[in-house]
Amino acid sequence: MNKVMNEKAYCIKMEGMHIRKLSLVVFAVVLLSGCSGSGFRIDNNSSEDHAKAEEVLRNDKRLTSAVTVFYENDLLTGVTLKTFSRFKKEKIEKELKKKLENSYPELDVTVSADSKIWMETNKLIELDDNKDKGKKIEKLKSLIKEET
């Protein structure tokens, strides 16, 4: 009898913790769903025609968003992937890079599915001052290099 009551008390205690934990998760998801950007943005500061790049990126069904900056000799693209496409992150990066390089053979193409790059590229577009852009792009490129 006593034992049963103990177990009950135990279960109730555990359930309380259980619910608290779940609510934390729900809260986190709600909080985060607000800041998920999507769409395809292109910022062209060069003489190149960006239509081809847009076509490549928009036609790729595995992407949820893509942010592209053309600046002088650089073409920098940050992409976000669909959840299950993330397994093939490296492969997708390589494919896109190849496609873009084919379209723009004279540009230095950088493609990354890293969310840091995506975040920074977004900031880059909002930057009014064009002077810093070159520097920032170099920095992002070195960050990507650091990984390997």
Partner: protein
């Protein structure tokens, strides 16, 4: 079968005083009011757990002696033990108290084995006052036998909690009005191949059941002769197993059976299967049982303390856990 390991005391030495000290967590025990001293600090204000352990033992000795208006120089022998490396806490306590000392080790069964030894010395007439007891300190035991105290390991429901407590009794020749030691049984080491140190109750239960049957047949007694048959620290799981094993031997286990480990912390589920440790049985036997005997509630009791004789080394080398149980019979004439 020739009855072996049986002890009968013709002079029936008496337990004239007890001293029980406990740590702060033992306030959760349902027997807390009966303890003589509760420390507010788990190390008893000492620098290390082991020093606190020794201090707890010392204080328990002094309390027991003071209850019979004695000082350490009045005592002839000191028979105590604990679970830590080579019993250093007991050794240090004995060094401070300064009574001729023999360290005893039967793991958690030391509480009863020391009483039996004290009774023997008294029986021979060579001891007018002997100190017997055992102690354990949770932190010190935990870090030696299991993991560091702050390590997060999930304990199953069969795991027991080592108590921080010391229990000491002063044993003298027969004195009217005090519980006296009539007989006892020295246990055999029983090993039924249990290896799980988080289920010590299951390892110790066969030893307890074996000693119980040997005591009953050896001394020609029946369960009905006792007001209570109390085991030391089998815990909830071990106690069930022990009753089952004893029941298989044709012993009526339906009433008068109690377990100190199971009852120590009441029904608090955070202590899982219950309490364990040499201090557990010593503290409960020397408070709850002795008090009830002196109050006249119990006339005849059988105390069986169980001990798991493992070491961190033997466990890590994959050995089984050999166990022992000693029994002592107290009467109130």
């Amino acid at each position: 079968m020739v009855a072996r390991g049986l002890l009968t005391f013709k002079t029936t030495p008496s337990i004239v005083a007890t001293g029980v000290t406990a740590g702060p967590l033992e306030k959760k025990s349902q027997f807390v009011d009966k303890f003589d001293k509760i420390y507010e600090d788990e190390r008893c204000e000492a620098k290390t757990n082991e020093h606190g352990h020794a201090k707890m033992m010392e204080d328990a000795c002094m309390i027991a002696l003071s209850k019979v208006d004695s000082v350490p120089s009045d005592a002839d022998f000191m028979l105590i033990g604990d679970l830590i490396n080579q019993m250093t806490p007991s050794n240090f306590a004995a060094a401070t108290v300064g009574i001729p000392y023999i360290g005893l080790f039967s793991a958690c069964a030391t509480s009863v084995s020391s009483l039996l030894m004290a009774a023997l010395l008294t029986e021979t007439g060579m001891s007018k006052c002997a100190i017997a007891g055992a102690s354990s300190q949770h932190n010190a035991v935990e870090r030696q036998f299991r993991y560091p105290n702050e390590y997060g390991a999930q304990k199953p429901e069969t795991a027991q909690w080592t108590v921080t407590a010391a229990g000491v009794a002063a044993v003298t020749p027969y004195k009217k009005g005090f519980p006296s030691i009539e007989c006892g049984t020295i246990g055999c080491v029983i090993d039924l191949g249990m290896t799980d140190p988080l289920n010590m109750g299951a390892a110790m239960a066969p030893a307890a059941a074996d000693t119980l049957t040997r005591h009953l047949t050896g001394h020609n007694k029946d369960v009905k002769d006792y007001d209570v048959i109390m085991t030391g620290d089998l815990g909830k799981t071990g106690f069930e197993l022990y009753k089952k094993l004893a029941g298989n031997q044709g012993i009526d286990v339906t009433k008068n059976f109690r377990d100190a480990g199971k009852e120590f912390y009441g029904a608090d589920p955070s202590f899982l299967s219950g309490a364990s440790g040499a201090g557990c049985s010593a503290a409960i036997f020397l408070t709850e049982v002795i008090d009830k005997m002196r109050a006249g509630d119990y006339k005849r009791v059988l105390l069986i303390a169980t001990g798991a004789l493992l070491s961190p080394l033997s466990f890590q080398q994959g050995d089984t856990i050999p166990c022992i149980a000693h029994a002592i019979e107290l009467t109130m004439k």
